[in-house]
């Protein structure tokens, strides 16, 4: 997978991402499969679980801002993969053992199809403008504010605002075009 960011990809980041991703995935699976009637997974709880485990890792982390980017990416990957799994299931393809009701994960139920479309569009966007891709990732998947994103990326708030607006417009248009037959 590609890694973008101001500091550029490093092997440590890739490894850290891999670990966060696997942790998140495992936690999400467990929570989503959880007992019927149990409260739906709280997003924060999911992330908590992950970091609780990560906190045990002895590595010297590159720094917390970097960590935000890695975490946001991990969340994106987990959600998109769940949506993919759901689609496979609906099409009857593959042997995905359990349906993964994404709606239970997010507070406002996101349609898996919509999420997949976003995922595809975001990949296209990243090819054109990696920084815009990362802003979307931090904002939409990581839930960061513009100011926080500015700090992570080391740019001004205004830059982030402008880029976010363009990225959002581009994605929206792309997704609408794709949705039309």
């Amino acid at each position: 997978m590609r890694t973008h960011g101001p500091a550029g990809p490093t092997p440590q980041t890739a490894e850290l991402f891999g670990r966060i991703y696997h942790e998140l995935h495992a936690v999400a699976l467990r929570c989503l499969r959880g007992e019927r009637g149990a409260p739906t997974l709280q997003a924060t709880a999911l992330v908590h679980e992950v970091f609780l485990r990560l906190a045990k890792a002895p590595d010297d982390w590159a720094g917390s801002t970097h960590l935000l980017a890695v975490a946001a990416r991990a969340i994106r990957r987990v959600l998109i993969n769940h949506a993919l799994a759901r689609r496979c299931l609906r099409r009857g393809g593959g042997h995905t053992p359990e349906p993964l009701p994404l709606g239970g994960l997010a507070a406002p139920a996101r349609d898996a199809v919509e999420l997949l479309a976003l995922g595809e569009a975001l990949e296209r966007l990243e090819q054109r403008d990696p920084r815009q891709g990362q802003i979307v990732e931090l904002r939409f998947f990581g839930g960061l504010t513009t100011a926080e994103i500015a700090r992570v990326l080391g740019v001004s708030t205004r830059t982030v605002e402008g880029e976010w607006s363009l990225a959002r417009a581009w994605l929206r248009r792309h997704m609408r075009q794709e949705a039309e037959p």
């Binding site: 908590h48 010297d60 507070a107 363009l166």
Partner: protein
Amino acid sequence: MTEPVFARIKAIYLRVRAAPPAQRAELLARECAGSAELAAEVESLLANDDDGFLAEPVLGRGFSVATALVHQGIDFRAGDYRARAMLGAGATGLVYRAVHEPTGREVALKVLRPGALSPEGARRLLAEAALLRRLDHPGIARVHDAGLAALHGETTAYLAMELVDGLPLAQYVSGEACSVRVIVHLMACVADAVQHAHERGVVHNDLKPSNVLITAKGAPRIVDFGVAQCTRDVVADSAGGTLGYLAPERLASGAPSRPTSDVYALGAITYELLTGRLPVDHDRRPGAQLRAALADPWPLGALRPELRGDLETIVHHALDPLAARRCPSAAFFARDLRRFLAGARIESPRLAWPRRFARFARHHRAVVGGIAASFAALLLGLAGTVAALRTAERARIEEATARAQADRAAARARAVSDYLTGVLRAATPHGGDGNPNLDDVLVTAARSLPSTLVDADGTLAATCHALGLALFAVGRYELAAQQIERALALAGPGDDATGLQLDLGVAMLHSGRSEPALALFTAISDRLAASADAPVELRFRCGYHHALAAYESGRLLLARERIERALVLGAELPAGNRTLLAARGLAGLVASALGEHVESAGIYEACLADAELHLGAGHPQTLTLANNLALQHLQLDDVRRCEALLQRALDGRRSLYGDDHPDVLQTLHNLATLRGHQQRYAEAIELQRRVLAQRHELLGANHPKTLTTHHNLARLLEQGGRIEEAEQLFRALLPNAEAGLPADHWHLALFRRNFAHLLHQQRRHDEARCLLEAAIAGLGDGSADEHAPLRAQLHALKASVAAAAGR
């Protein structure tokens, strides 16, 4: 569209968007300078500029990874410190590489988890910090500062410590493949540092390899001094591993922390670095932890023979479970380690061999006691012979002959003594590198017997007998029978042949050969009945064993008749006589087998009370009675009482014999029966499976007890709905039972009946009918005997099978 174009679009889009809406069209036209395509592209993007789109994060409004990170304390500020990166996590908190913002100094910032500290603990930590700042030793990471910080709405404490660039001790030792001498040197340095703190009134309380870092120069530096003291219960908080370094007195609640607890940890760390394992294997159950800690660790020299001697002595001195006997200070420990390195005389007291043996014996109290008594009697007898020959006999026999005889006797005594000493020495953990236990030792002893002793004057017979009794005591019944049989064959006219025969019969009985045992007891009984002068006690003992053999052979009415007769003889014996108590217990067992559970429980209750009075609550026989009484309560549906008795029997027997003794297995077998009765089938099956595996190994597949477990497991599987597995087990059971039990044993009929019942349920009527016919034929067509109820059941089941088959 190529990338430069996209970059241009972006620039135009941003400029146009920044302009007031009214001026946008004009600005766009100007920016695009005649490129309609470019203008259209930017325009379509602007048309899609929708604040509502992707406005809310995918994980919901209010979600933020940043918040999540702060939740976990990864990105925050505490006092003048700003955390930069995480260094590690422990039970009590997280450690960061942090910066002291006013000075830019880097520190290790330990932030206690919110909740790890009570308000009282926080106060103590701040007070402690004042003490900690006074510690100034190259082996201790300096404490710069301490304070309270708000972390996500909760107050927690932080400690700013010297940032030590180093490897954790264990990692360093394994990475560098440190020699024993290097490890000893490092530990002496660590002990120096600990001593420095102790002298200033600071106890570490959570010393472990991860709290000792080795710097680039190879010098150890201890971190986290005094922290554990202030945090809540280390025992409850620590996640795996830490317990191993905790002194036993710290495990017991409420014990104040003392320097000697740190000394224990120093011993434990040294032990682990040298052997790769912790001295005490901690179970996570609270009771087990303390028990394990109070047991002595496996000797260092048993794990690494080259470490026997002084180093072993020093480490075990530090690891003494009793704080009062333990190495008194870190300085003492350090000094002795350095003496060891210098080849000088150490001060730690050497563990005497008898104490080592005593440690071993503690685990096998009853057994060792029995063996020691047998051996002591044997040795005394021999010594007596020597003495007699040297004095009284000297007058009558020519001196040279006398001396020769005396020397022979003395040589014999020495041979026996050497042999026995060898056996006992082998029984101590120092005897081998593996995990020798007493029964292995005895088995070895039995094998080596002919080569080490020359027979003369019944020495060998007596030794065989003693060894046989010892083997019996550890549950090796078949080997015991072999030894006693040898003793019997070697016995001279002066020996107590009847006593030997009785012992042989008992050993045979326990090894599952109830038929020959019954024949033997019948013969002895007949002989004793014919001799007028046989002592009452001997006749009573014989009667009891005779009844037991009859019971085990399934002859319940014979057993009842014999036990009643024996008890008449027993009335003359004191109430605390062990055989008498056993005989009364047998009467209860027979009553139970005959379906008289109320009577049986009554007999047992009275018997148990007497046993407790005369033998004590922990005596093996008392435990046997508790075990058997439990079964009666199960029959009477008093599950609570049953469980309590079984637990008592189990705990007692385990502490006497360890885990794999036949008696322990018997209690576990009964416990499985209880679980089945409670319909806790999964548990019952699991337990019974374990018992079956062990009985299989210990007693063989055809032993009556193995068969019973085998059968009960099959029943449990059936009751638990696992019909196929049950059928397989039943199918395997029958040939074993036919080989191991007399053809007319009622157990065999019962096994067949229950298998037939299962098949009947599966509508396999033909197979069921065949089995029932075999069962009825096997049981014999006696008239009104003890098996009448079972016979009636068999006929009834056969009738319903026939009816079902006819439909």
